[in-house]
Symmetry: C2
Subunit: 420 residues, 2 copies
């Protein structure tokens, strides 16, 4: 027996009870959790300060310190997320489809909770409450395994959640924190076929790869986003430059930020100078020959380089934009299906047929027409929070809300039928 | 490069085209495949004879020879399955859900094919055409890896399928047979993360375990069924004995056959003697004390043994029935959730509350009220055929038809929206 077995047992027992809870009971408990988090702000922020001080002593970079940091605004966002989740329909025990067989058997496909989820994530402690809330509403227990750098913050958040559950008549054991800090805890979780129904890794590429390669339990792969915007022939999208700027520069470290711009040769000459003017001094351009030529005389503060082959396959997560000119819509689709990571892809066009072809033929979780790729996010989609953004097709795809934590069960009602 | 890469490439290219095919095109092609299989009967049965002769020379048991055998009736069933699949709705490109965000973005959840499926299966060559037909209608390519004992039969079936696809304007490369006979072919398939979207093992416990443990690609676990029937207190289900007989003895080797009978102590005395009388000479009983006592004086030809602990966890796949008496519905549910394999579970009852409690609390793919467990089968459910019976909750559960081979894509339509 390893150290996590007691917590696995509690989570599984709690999940059996939670699976039977009705919407009113779950929403009441979640409301109490929101209140408890609100009341525990002081303790949570203090615990977070401890984590941050320790991280600074260990030389953590400021960008990562920012990810680790909680403040009133972030706690407000968590609470607002819970309230959005409360307003959402309860998927559990809904009948998804039903039919009667010729022999009179009545078959119903009923939605049920998936079971126990394990989330393995990096430094952001606001994820802790987000994930718990979605899981609870979906009737799932959740095992949280955060970064050791966020340990005190996560302990404070989980303590507040458990307090809220108790005061709201909920099931406190439906959430557990794996907080021994041992690295092999992750391996134990990933091998726990009898206990855990799905593992959700949230974090950088290395974490996700480690989870995917070692798991003996189902995993939902998330995150990697080599996203494209394609500007179509004849596209007189007035704010094309705004959309590209937003997708690239509003938050370049996000997985849904654009990395490569594909420009139809017909529009390169009109688009590229305006785009270069807008992004000069902020974004480095890595252009193929024709798109570089289309810029003409570059603004003096534009960092302009020639694109190399590896730029097409790189998720920069930085103020860098690769630009390629294409001759046709088909060439753009081919490029995206070759180099993309099936995350978020956009076309800017005035042509309905182009939009339709792009939407159907591009193989990605989210395909946009005339909008920034930055909307691929559970919160933006209206889910209140997200479990992550699935880049696989199996079980769940794109921003994952309640639905990703459900399964089905067939309920078959007869009057004594036997098989011939 | 390994030997399967050319076939992977063809399957993937074919799938991109097939994903765009409309229902009419797919149904026309499937109709032509049904005709081609009909016309190729002679060749297929001859190839099957070759396989059977070889299997007999290698000393294969007659029960397995039966699984390997094709005949006109089995080919008729395959063709009828294809016709049922043709009549089913095409799930692809249907909008599953849609909503508008406050910023005007219109979001649609569109059903798309899952991609390329690999099916690794044992001796039944009728599975070959069943799986292909479901996959084709769902817009998926399929790689078939059958048993080496069925190699000639599978080659003949796949040749007929390809001929049908060509004559019906379909996409012949959407089906491939891995027929080198090398055992490491399976390992190559299970590691093909860039090529295969799901692996479906169909066969015995050992095959499934091997696939689940070695796969680097998503797997749907199928088959193992330690199924129960619980006879509730006061159950005056007139044909309880018929149902139990059907679930046990109609085909004991099936995964949906019942293995353990749970009898409420109130009904043991009336049920057990009748059941023993019906099954004596055919089914061995392994009883706990009270159920043995309830039989009274056993029929002379009844094989009656004391149940041992391991009987509760054994999928006999044989003319053996374990019997246990329980004091309450709750005890029955607890027993099933402890020993069951989440496959098919039944309650026989006249009490609506008992049926509701059983249906909600038993964690299984199929939960029956007043019917035999033997209906858990894609064909019986009206799917025309099945990919197998999923015993996991992730992605697909229970008998798998078209839906199990689909995923979704978000299609987002804007008017220039950018993220604030």
């Amino acid at each position: 027996m390893h150290s996590l077995e007691p917590i696995f047992t509690l989570l599984k027992k709690a999940q059996s009870r939670l699976a039977l809870a009705d919407r009113y009971a779950k929403d009441t408990a979640l409301g109490a959790v929101a209140n408890a988090l609100d009341r525990a702000r002081g303790l949570i922020l203090k615990a977070n300060e401890t984590d941050i001080a320790k991280a600074r002593r260990n030389g953590m970079k400021e960008a990562l310190i920012d990810r680790l940091s909680l403040n009133d605004k972030r706690i407000d966002a968590v609470i607002e997320g819970i309230n959005t989740i409360i307003r959402q329909d309860d998927p559990v025990n809904k009948v998804k489809a039903y039919w009667t067989l010729p022999n009179g058997l009545f078959i119903e496909q009923v939605i049920v909770p998936l079971g126990v989820a394990a989330v393995i994530y990096e430094s952001r402690p606001n994820v802790t409450a987000d994930i718990f809330s979605l899981a609870y509403k979906a009737g799932c227990s959740v095992l949280l395994r955060g970064s050791s750098s966020a340990l005190e913050s996560n302990r404070a958040v989980v303590a507040a959640i458990k307090q809220g559950l108790e005061s709201g008549g909920g099931i406190g054991d439906a959430v557990g924190l794996a907080d021994s800090g041992n690295r092999d805890e992750v391996d134990v979780i990933l091998a726990a076929r009898d206990w855990i129904d799905v593992a959700l890794p949230r974090g950088g590429r290395e974490l996700i790869r480690r989870v995917v390669e070692n798991a003996r339990i189902p995993v939902i792969e998330t995150g990697e986003g080599n996203c494209h915007i394609y500007v179509d022939s004849g596209a007189e999208v007035p704010n094309a430059v705004d959309i590209i700027e937003n997708a690239k520069a509003q938050k370049p470290g996000a997985c849904n930020a654009v990395e490569t711009l594909l420009v139809h040769r017909d529009v390169a000459a009109s688009l590229m100078p305006r785009l270069a003017g807008r992004l000069a001094g902020r974004v480095e351009f890595r252009c193929d020959g024709p798109s570089r030529q289309a810029i003409g005389v570059p603004p003096t503060d534009l960092i302009l380089k020639d694109a190399a082959g590896e730029d097409w396959e790189t998720e920069f997560l930085d103020y860098i934009l690769a630009v390629k000119t294409v001759d046709t819509l088909e060439e753009a689709i081919k490029h995206i299906n070759r180099y993309g990571t099936k995350h978020s892809e956009a076309i800017l066009t005035n042509n309905a047929a182009s939009a339709e072809t792009f939407s159907r033929q591009v193989d990605a979780a989210c395909v946009y027409t005339n909008a920034s790729t930055r909307f691929t996010d559970g919160g933006e989609f209206g889910f209140g929070a997200e479990l992550g953004i699935s880049t696989q097709k199996f079980h769940a795809r794109g921003p994952m809300g309640l639905e990703a934590l459900t399964s089905i069960k067939y309920r078959i009602t007869g009057q004594g039928q036997i098989r011939a």
